[in-house]
Each structure stands twice: as structure tokens, then as C-alpha cells.
Amino acid sequence: MDRSIALWRTVFLILPVSVFAVFVIWPLLSSFYYSFTNWNGFNPNYDFVGFDNFAKIYTDRLFASAAINTVIWMVAAIILPTGLGLFLALLIDSRVPGGTLFKSVFYLPICLSAVVVGQVWVWIYQPDWGLLNTVLTYFSSEKINYAWLAKPESALFSVIVAWSWQQTGLSMVIYLAGLTAIPSDLQEVCELEGSSWWQKVRLVLLPLLAPATVVVIALSVINSLKGFDILFIMTEGGPFNSSDTLAMHMYNESFRKYYMGYGSAIAVVLFLVALAIIWLYFRQLRKVDEIYS
């Protein structure tokens, strides 16, 4: 009886494990493998080049600018969706009228694919008839037709705004769950002790939301490292690589320039950075758990 249960468990596990192995583990190991080669993605013949691809990273100016953009993206990802999500969660938690409606509306973007979100924001940023310029023109004495996505100085930030708009809903939901987990009597103590709203947020809610904050920040950082699809739709890393991120740069090197070996080396670096962040995340989570258990 026990053996047949164990057998069935194994059978049921084989399918997801196989899918995971074929689509995650195998490509991951392949990336490691190809990062030491000069494969172009098509030719069956390639050579092992040792750490040459990793050495190239140090001299690649585009990699440097993509890395800087990724860091900017990451910092913005920590500040914008986290801050906005927290603000909206606190607002909804304070029982504003129509809170449930707002919750649904703010969460909606996360249900959309990045392609849809990207395309919506391309229209919003459209120089001649886009919503943003139309609104700015309304408040201005002259017609505004600024090309938000076509200017190197504004392209990256314009995409970050669109991305933050999508991610804020996710942060908000995580913070709302965090707020729900705070025992109501702790909030009542604040009321009895006469704390202002801001004192309650600063001294009680924010520290108690630390577990949620760790999750939100970790998710934001990991998502920002993966930031590709929305960039691909909105700017393709341009103009002049001004909105290139590491993920975008990896794609360009691998599939546009056919330096699959070098692209794999970039992927390996990204993977290791993500791994370090996940390690930090678990370490923080454990610390937070210790405090609040």
C-alpha cells in the first residue's frame, strides 16, 4: 500500500520535474556551457574560448551603459512601485470609500501582459496625439509634442514609469496582505495611546510591514533584472542604447548580433547577480521571521 502511494507520487512528480528540467535547468546549464564558447547560435562548429567572453564584458562599453541603466532601473524599481504600493495599501486599509474598487483598479495592470502595458504607454507617450502631451498642452500656452521615447534623456525613465505603473498593483496587494496580518489590537493600542496617522505608520506599521517590504523589494529587484519585454515593445533599448538594460543587451548580443557565446556570458552574470539577491532576500526574510515570530 505504502509502496504504491510512493510510486504514484513519483509518477505525478515526474511530469513537472521533467518540464522544469527541460525548460529551466537544461537552458541554464547550456548557458553556462556556451558562455565559454564562441558559438554564433547556428553553426554546429564552435571553439572553447575559456573566460574570453567574461573578459570581454570588462571592455564592452555597451555592457557598462546597460549595467548602469539596470542599476537605475533597479533603484527606481525599489523606490517607485514599493513607495506607491505602500501608499495605496495604507490608503485603502484606512477604509476610504470605494476601497474595494480602487484595489481592483490598481491591481488590474498586473493582470495585463507587458506587451499590452507597453503598447498602451507607447500610445500615451505618442508625440502628436498621446494622452501625456495632450494633457500637458492643455496646461501650457503652446502645443507640446515632446517625443518621450525617442529622446535618449527621457526614454529610460518613460519606460520605468510605465513599468512602475504595472508593478505598483503587485506591491500594493503584498502590502495589503501584510497590513491584514498585523493584529488589529496593535493598531488599537495606537488609537488608545493617541498616535497620529503618521506616527502610527512610522513607528508601528512600517516596522511591522518589514516582511512584506522584503518580499516587495526582492520581487521588484528580480523583476527589474529581468526587465526586457516592456523595453522591447517600447524602445528596443534605444535610442542609441539609452534604454538598454542587461537583459536587453543580452538579447541583442545573442539574437541580433549572433554572439551567442558572449550573450550566454552576460546571462550567466545576470544569473549570478539574481542569485546573490535571492540569497540576500532569504537571509533578510529569516532575520525578519526571527523578530516577528
Binding site: 493584529p183 489590537d185 496593535l186 488599537e188 493600542v189 488609537e191 488608545l192 495611546e193 493617541g194 498616535s195 497620529s196 506616527q199 513607528l203 508601528v204 516596522p207 511591522l208 518589514a210 526571527e290 523578530i291 516577528y292 515570530s293
Partner: protein, 360 residues
Amino acid sequence: MSSLKLQDVRKNFGTQTVIHGIDLDVEEGEFIVFVGPSGCGKSTMLRIISGLDQVTSGRIFIAGNDVTFTHPSKRQVAMVFQSYALFPHMTVAQNIGFGLRLAKLPKAEIAKRVFAAAEVLQIEDLLGRYPRQLSGGQRQRVAIGRAIIRNPRVFLFDEPLSNLDAALRVQMRLEIARLHNRLGATIVYVTHDQTEAMTLADRIVVIKEGEIAQVGNPLEVYESPANKFVAGFIGAPSMNFLKASIRAEGGRSSIQLYGAALAYLPDRFAREYIELGIRPEHLSFSESSDCDFWGVVELVEELGSESFAYLQTEFNPEPVTIRLEPNKKVKAGDKLPVSIDRNAMHVFSESGSTVAIGRI
């Protein structure tokens, strides 16, 4: 002037009325205990007094001031929660001094007052610890410390001992009683544990379904319960209730138990049945067969200091509890004669209200 006055306090949640018009005067320095079964509205009453919940109608006065619509922090009350409600990220000192920090008092002043409160509760050594590093009893003391430091006019305790184990509960009960003697503060205390109520209270307020069933000092409530509910709720083990019939005899009525006249009611009684309430200590095994009824021992409970036997009878579906006299040995299956102390009978009408107490 009373310290706390509740005037026709009512509370509805939607269409559901949970508090049905409560009137109560609490004197300065009095220890009042709200007791009642789960869901009777006692915690709601406490939350209404604290201001965490609003009344639907009625008024609340603290030290003569109408605080019905006053913000909780301005009512001069402090509350100790069942869960202690300590901030996990703050040390004991920060938890106790939380209110003073909000009031932006100087740090030195806060430290001084926190230490003074900690001294009262003998937790000076714990000030640097976090709640997770404390035992249940220590956490409870910290919660009380946070209440003490505010110098409130009224302390509100919401089932503060229910999360503690039995031994610690007894110890904390004693400490709360000592604290009350030392501070002389007015305390409103909620519990469902009637032992806590009996041992701590100056006066007990028994609540049933959002209404006061009886107010009185512990002995009054124990010895002269206003109705069957109070009689059954106060006292452990619970009072025995025996169904008895009434027979009219001339101008008066006799109470018939098990076919024999047990006692006479002074007036002619218009009812057919009543219930007799007899506490376990007012039943005894007779030496002879001259008794009020016979019972078969079903179970004997040895508690160390005292023992109880549960008897099956022919006339009562529920077992009858009897406190055994010291050195009295009985065993399951024994059929024994039982006598009722005529001076300690409670007679309840079918509606549950008291008709007569004691010798009738």
C-alpha cells in the same frame, strides 16, 4: 462622584443588538468584573468604554465627564489586551514608554517613568528585551506596565489571563489584586472565568446576552443569585437543577420531589413545575434511608483538597453533583441516600427567575 458611569448603553452591529441598555455606576477605586459566557457582550462593553467601539445610544461618563464621543486617547483609560498587544519590534522599555514617546516627552523623562513602572511590576531587568524573549507572564506585566505609565482614571482588562497556564494564572491573579491595592485605581475587568471574577472583584457584573443579569459582591452573587442563569454560571462545579412539581394544599403550595413534599411555598403557586437549585456542598449522603432521594454514583472526581461525586437519579436526566465530606469514600455503582440542606435551596420558576432562596 462615580469613576465610571454607563447610562442606558446600547450597541447594535447592523440589525443585531448586542448590548441592550446597560446602566452601571462604578465607584472610584472599585474593582469591577464583567463575567459571562463567550459572546455575551462583555468585551464589547469594554471596547465601548475604551472608545474603540462607539455606542449606538446611551452615554458614558468618566470622572463626571461625558466621554461618549471622546477619542479613546482622551478618555483617561488604559487597556490591557488579552493578547498583550506588545509591539514585537520594540523592547520592553519602548513598549512601556510608547504613549510617552507619542506625546514627545523628553527621553530622560520617559526613561524615568518607564523605570518606575517597571519597578512596580518587578521587570526592571527585562527592559532591554524584546517581547519574543519573554514568557507569557512577563509579557502580561509589560502590557500592564504600558497601562500604568499613563496614570489613567480607569484601567480596562480584557481577559488578561486567559492565555496563561493554570499556575501562572493564579500567580498573576494575585499580582493584579496586589496592584489594585497598591494603585487604588478603578479597574474594569472582563473574564469568562468565574473563579477570577470571584477572587478579584469588589463587585461582579454578570452579563447574559447583552444584559446585566445581576450586579453584586461575589458572595451576594454566589449565595443569592438573581436567576437560574447566574446560579448556574457562578460556582464550580455548577449548581444542580432538579425539576420538582408543585401541589396545592389549602392556601399554600408544596414542592414535591420524587413524590415527597420537600418544602412549602408561602403562597399558593399558580405553576405546575419549578426547578430547585442546590449547590453541590448543600447535598450530603444520609446515614440512614431517611433521605430526600437516592442516587447511584456514576463518577468520583478527586481534586485533592475536595472531592465530588456525580450521581444518576431516577427523576433528573442530568447527573447530580455532590461534594463529598472529608474522609467519605464512595465508588462508582454505589446506591446512596441523599439529603438536601433545606436552608440552602433556591427555587426557580420555569422562566428561570428566582422565586425563593433558603428555607421556605
